[in-house]
């Protein structure tokens, strides 16, 4: 198993604001990588750079060994990169099932009954099957988050990017969502997960990186990272004792 994703000195700045500062790391196939950092650190921008919605200033994105830096978002989606959004963005005028079908037919390239059966399976996995024919605009927050996950999964991703998917959920909702994500990871999908709900994150990921001001400031085993003085200071705002 090789690296499914490799960022090589990836940088992006909006004027004086640097959202990605020479980001370089690799994610091995089948891994689950957690990303933490304060608000505005550039975590979501990093996802935008990986999915191709934001063009980089310099550096490279390599996906499954190919340089995809110049590829647009649609092409990267076909290649197997999918994401969820922190603020769910369903096609609100379409049903849950149709939302899923868009990803299955366009991104994963499935057709007809095969696509329909696949979507139904995913909807069952994400526990949205009872809502399949409901307009996406009428869903609750948890259901919308599950729809984000559904759509991303229907794209048959090799790499799944989750952006604060547990944020805003109750404890019980969070627990069931974490279980779903664990199952997805167990099925072989590589995951990169940005999350402030750290205990949820730690249940799934086996490696953690910390980002601040667009820069990667720490990387390693999750519990070690969470206990490091540097992370406590920068991420949690606690002054490190000398």
């Amino acid at each position: 198993m090789g690296a499914i994703l490799k960022l090589d000195e990836l940088s992006k700045a909006f004027g004086a604001v640097t959202v990605a500062d020479a980001l370089s790391y690799e994610v091995q196939e089948g891994d689950a990588l957690g990303v933490i950092g304060p608000n505005g650190a550039g975590k979501t921008s990093m996802f935008n750079l990986i999915t191709g919605t934001l063009p980089s200033n310099s550096g490279k994105v390599l996906f499954a060994g190919q340089d995809v830096t110049k590829w647009n978002a649609a092409r990267r989606s076909h290649a197997g990169i999918a994401r969820s959004f922190q603020v769910p963005q369903p096609f609100s005028g379409m049903t849950v099932f149709e939302n899923a079908m868009i990803a299955a037919t366009q991104s994963a390239g499935l057709h007809g009954h095969e696509a329909e059966r696949f979507c139904l399976r995913v909807l069952e996995q994400t526990e949205l099957l009872p809502k399949a024919n409901v307009l996406a605009g009428s869903l609750t927050l948890l259901e919308r988050k599950r729809l984000e996950l559904t759509r991303a999964l229907c794209a048959k991703p090799k790499l799944l990017l989750l952006d604060e998917i547990a944020g805003g959920l109750t404890e019980a909702e969070c627990t069931s969502l974490v279980q779903t994500i664990k199952d997805i990871h167990a099925s072989g999908v590589t995951i990169i997960w940005i999350e402030h709900v750290v205990h949820a994150l730690l249940e799934v990921v086996d490696r953690l990186i910390v980002i601040d001001f667009g820069k990667q400031i720490a990387e390693g085993e999750p519990h070690a990272i969470m206990n490091s003085a540097e992370v406590k200071e920068i991420y949690l705002g606690i002054e490190a004792d000398a």
Binding site: A74, S77, A82, F91, I102, A103, Q106, R151
Partner: protein, 286 residues
């Protein structure tokens, strides 16, 4: 009976207006583009039909086999090559560019075909009629109305029952997310314009059989199309058909009162509906 006749003829005329409008409605629904050149594209299609019929001797309705795909290709190329570049957060650039296109098409047609009014010869079809319950219905208007219903049914079915239609609605809903789901919006927009101009080709040929046309009348067809779309409500294709019928009936009833009132009464009906229901009768897009 005279009044009933006016209403029935107006309804059938409404079918033609709905065909003018369907392409506009489709384009606005998918990409929020207001195509000012739409009327001129109808006339362009009529002239293409004229060229095909005079060159090959084909019946105008058979010429559709050539003109519809030609207009479709023109639509796709135009969208990919020009109109996609104008789309963004600002509604003004596509308005200006399609206005420019309108001028170019009109003058191009003048250059090639001159300002003389032309007409397509559809033989016996033009005058054929059937008597139904004391009314004489022209076969051509009935055929036009039937085609309008079929086209709108077809577009509606495409929108709600096919992968392409889902793609149209997804792109219409949120372009950025649609891209992330693997949809190439530039291509989808191209296909939408191809489809819209294919419908426009049908409208142009039926117009060219029904009445004489010259390069300058596109603007008027655009207005009728707009009015039908807005009366029916944005984003609702069946509403567009109703809008076309209301416009057609207002015109024929107006003409019945006084022949000079035909066009004016159509516009008045439009104003009245706009005043009472600013979003049209059955809006789907606000």
């Amino acid at each position: 009976m005279d009044w009933l006749n006016a209403i029935v003829q107006g309804t059938l005329l409404g079918g033609l207006y709905a065909l003018f409008a369907a392409g506009l409605s489709l384009i606005f629904g998918v990409m929020r583009l207001v195509n000012i050149a739409h009327g001129d594209m109808i006339i362009l299609a009529a002239y293409l039909g004229l060229t095909v019929t005079t060159a090959t001797g084909l019946h105008p309705l058979l010429a559709l086999v050539l003109v519809v795909p030609t207009m479709g290709v023109i639509g796709y190329v135009l969208q990919r090559g020009l109109l996609n570049q104008t789309l963004g957060d600002d509604l003004l650039p596509p308005l200006l560019v399609t206005f420019g296109l309108s001028v170019i098409i009109q003058n191009g047609l003048l250059e090639v075909y001159s300002a003389d009014p032309q007409k397509m010869d559809a033989g016996a079809l033009e005058t054929a009629s059937v008597a139904v319950g004391g009314l004489n219905l022209g076969v051509l208007p009935v055929l036009t109305f039937a085609v309008a219903v079929a086209v709108i049914w077809g577009l509606q079915w495409t929108f709600y029952h096919t992968a392409l239609g889902r793609a149209f609605r997804a792109v219409s809903d949120n372009q950025d997310i649609a891209q992330l789901m693997g949809l190439n919006r530039r291509h989808i927009f191209g296909v939408a314009m191809a489809l819209a101009l294919g419908v426009t080709a049908i409208a142009g040929i039926l117009l060219g059989i029904r009445t004489s046309f010259d390069p300058s009348i596109g603007g008027g067809r655009l207005i009728f199309g707009f009015e039908a779309v807005i009366i029916g409500g944005l984003g609702n294709l069946w509403g567009t058909l109703v809008g076309g019928v209301i416009l057609g009936v207002a015109q024929t009833v107006g003409a019945k009162i006084d022949p000079g009132w035909q066009i004016l009464s159509g516009h008045l009906a439009f104003l009245l509906i706009l005043a009472i229901r600013p979003n049209g009768l059955f809006p789907r897009i606000s």
